[in-house]
Amino acid sequence: MSDTHAQTVAYVRETMLPQATPPVSEVGAIKWLRENLFSGVLNTILTLVGIAAVIWVVQAALPWFLHGVWRANSLSECRQIIAESWGEGAHGACWAVIRERWNQFLFGFYPRDLYWRPVLALALLFVALAPILFAELPRKLIWASALYPAVAYILLWGGSLWVPISVMAGFGVGWLGLAIARRTGLPLLAPLAAVLLPLLWWLLLAGPAAGMLERAVPLWVQEVRSDKFGGFVLSITIGVAAIVLSLPLGVVLALGRRSDMLLVKALSVGFIEFIRGVPLITLLFTASLLLNYFLPPGTNFDIILRVIIMVTLFAAAYIAEVIRGGLAALPRGQYEAADSLGLDYWKSMQLIVLPQALKISIPGIVSTFIGLFKDTTLVIFVGLLDPLKGITDAVRAAIEWKGVYWEPFIFVGAIFFIFNFGMSRYSMYLERKLKRDHR
């Protein structure tokens, strides 16, 4: 308790001073700069280095971009135009090559009048993914999604409608077999029927059935053969097909790796570690060079299909690891709860474990897909025309564009960036949405 105040001591103030404006270095842009850029010696150095790097890059590349030529019929014409407008010895981009050949980078040699088909297939892909990604939508839509592979096949390759229908019928056969076998009440018969019957159908009956139906009721869409595929159509086809096909395989492998049965576990681990231990390029070589050795003499089928098979096996191993992480992330209580309800292994997996584990694994699956999509550029090494090197080299083999170097790379790189950046942002959003803990 002090009894000093203005009456007794002259230097004690009784009234509040009005608020002074903050010093100039503590407000607005200057404050922001000081706090964010120049808060210390190290920070200042970093800032200056950063600015220098940006300036250097812009200085090196900007003139080249600004001198770009969009309308020309050949590289030499490009060079002429650049020399005329910017003086001798000026460098500039020749975007005319993109303007003339953009469709090849995107669609390969797909017939021009049918471009809507791959585009529609891509659009439908998002429609098919919607019920899987957004829980708000009615569950019935999953069945529509299940039809997507058949629809995509027809859109991309065309041909007889009966082929995908008879393939899809295989799943129906399996389901029927499952239902009938369940009635008999014998255990193990149901899964056996569900696996064996479709296999038998596909191996023995599907082809002839499709042929017969085709003869009876011709349903035919204009066919586009695999040699017309190239560019991003090829990349996306391989990428999406491999991921979709590898998901079930990956789930099986992940379960196999966590199985109690020694042999099943050993085989799964062996397969996963083998695939993850070799470069994709050797698997592509296997697809193009060795598959003919491993299959019965004289068999020969589409190189794209062969590549899809190998890439599927490749992706399956990575997906298996992602899903294994998801299974491991699930609290033990969930497994125990499933067991205590008296569910058998498959039931507990199907109803309790897998739905949750897969949900946890979605970001990992997306990043696996991004990696796979980038890796599809390697198919050039087996003679398929990928957008990055395959189509680029084919374009450079035309007399008028021989010698073009950077422009196709920049164009293709930009498209890859847009696709993958979108996907990675989306997977971050999912991660945030699925996050259950608060920090």
Partner: protein
């Protein structure tokens, strides 16, 4: 009251193989094994029949035939008179070299960028984000090609160093020449060399062995000194001054040895078309190294960022409460805990580097895929043997890396009760 009676002694019936969960797993495993063996037998049988149909045999004899082609980077002796097997070894060493260099560089760069991403500096935060997104979302093949092209376009050709007023000049006291073919660096030479020993596959330089042995000895002695200093500190609370002892022990023996061997560096000199006398580090190696490093560093940066983010805020707050400065908090509290999260994905990035190094052919770096899976495969026409051998070698490398890293991983693992 129910009377308790013994459970009936179950005699084994065949149906138990299906119904009894104890035996069911055996049944399933037997079926799986049979299927697996049948599948493998089918593949092998097809291969045998196909080889017979093509009139080819399956043998690795070609590895002992003359290769007949040259390789521009060899870590051990090789000429076009050497065998295909020797060429394979050269390729393998080149793969290991670039993979090792990239792993080290990508880790350093990745950690720096990962930490910088968390920095409060606005420009740096944005720049690192741009960097990570750029490199993560574009195929590594493109980055390797871009790095190669940049080296080619930006650096001067050896010709530019010629003449009275050359347009390019060497750097670092005229000892290093950056050209668009290679970087010529001084070659360490020994006037009184101890010579080489031939250990079968390659020659080992005795000078190198001696230097490594001396350095190892110095490090061991230095650790002894430090350990005794710590013991004194624990006993008395005062740490004796050791820095000058350490420096003496670490530096003096090596310097003495180098003087004894007559060490000097031979500078590269421009003769004819190229620099001679120095060591040439080829641009295909540099481009591949740079491409792989930049690409993988983006992933490692994200791993580091996530790892640091995984350490709970409470740890930082506790460290601050103890009065630790931010830098020490990072190094003493956060990083050691983050490492546990960081190491497993880091291992797979190292594996990715090793596997991605097989893209070397795009810039003409002769790695395993360029020699064994490239020219040798082409000249001998033995796809089956070459690709299988290549797979086997890559698989071995990968398993060794993941095995070694798993050992480390177990040592830093959280020891839970």
């Amino acid at each position: 009251m129910a009377t308790v009676s013994d459970a009936p002694k179950a005699s084994f019936r065949l149906s138990m193989l299906i119904y009894d969960t104890r035996y069911r797993s055996i049944t399933i495993q037997v079926v799986v094994l049979l299927l697996f063996m049948a599948g493998a037998a089918w593949l092998v049988d097809n291969t045998v029949r196909n080889l017979a149909a093509l009139g080819k045999d399956f043998s690795f004899g070609f590895l002992w035939n003359r290769a007949g082609y040259d390789i521009n980077q060899m870590l051990v002796q090789y000429s076009n008179d050497s065998t295909h097997g020797r060429a394979m070894l050269i390729g393998l060493l080149n793969t290991l070299l670039v993979a090792f260099m990239s792993c080290v560089a990508a880790t350093v760069l990745g950690v720096i960028i990962g930490v910088l991403r968390l920095s409060p500096n606005w420009i740096i935060g944005r720049l690192t984000t741009v960097y990570v997104e750029m490199f993560r979302n574009i195929p590594v093949l493109l980055w390797i090609l871009v790095a190669y092209a940049v080296f080619t376009e930006v650096l001067p050709a050896p010709n530019a160093f010629r003449g009275d007023n050359p347009t390019a000049s060497m750097i670092l006291f005229d000892s290093v020449a950056l050209t668009n073919r290679y970087t010529a660096i001084p070659d360490p030479m020994f006037a009184r060399s101890l010579g080489n020993i031939d250990v079968g596959l390659f020659l080992v330089s005795l000078d190198l062995v001696a230097i490594i042995a001396v350095i190892t000895g110095s490090v061991l002695v230095n650790r002894k000194i430090l350990a005794s200093a710590t013991a004194v500190q624990n006993a008395t609370g005062v740490r004796p001054v050791t820095w000058w002892k350490s420096i003496l022990v670490l530096v003096a023996p090596v310097v003495l040895l180098l003087l004894a061997l007559g060490f000097h560096a031979e500078r590269p000199v421009l003769r004819g078309f190229n620099f001679t006398g120095g060591l040439d580090v080829s641009n295909s190696l540099m481009a591949l190294w740079l491409g792989l490093t930049l690409y993988t560093a983006a992933f490692i940066a994200e791993i580091v960022r996530a790892g640091i983010g995984a350490v709970s805020r409470g740890q930082t707050e506790a460290a601050f409460a103890l009065g630790l400065r931010p830098n020490r908090t990072m190094s003493l509290v956060i990083l050691p805990q983050a490492l546990r999260v960081i190491v497993p994905p880091l291992i797979s990035q190292y594996l990715n580097i090793t596997k991605n190094s097989s893209l070397a052919i795009a810039v003409g770096y002769m790695d395993l895929r360029g020699t064994l899976g490239g020219i040798t495969l082409n000249q001998t026409g033995r796809e089956l043997e070459c690709v299988l051998l290549m797979m086997l070698i890559y698989l071995t490398i990968s398993l060794l890396i993941s095995g070694a890293m798993n050992v480390y991983n177990n040592s830093v693992k959280l020891k839970e009760r």
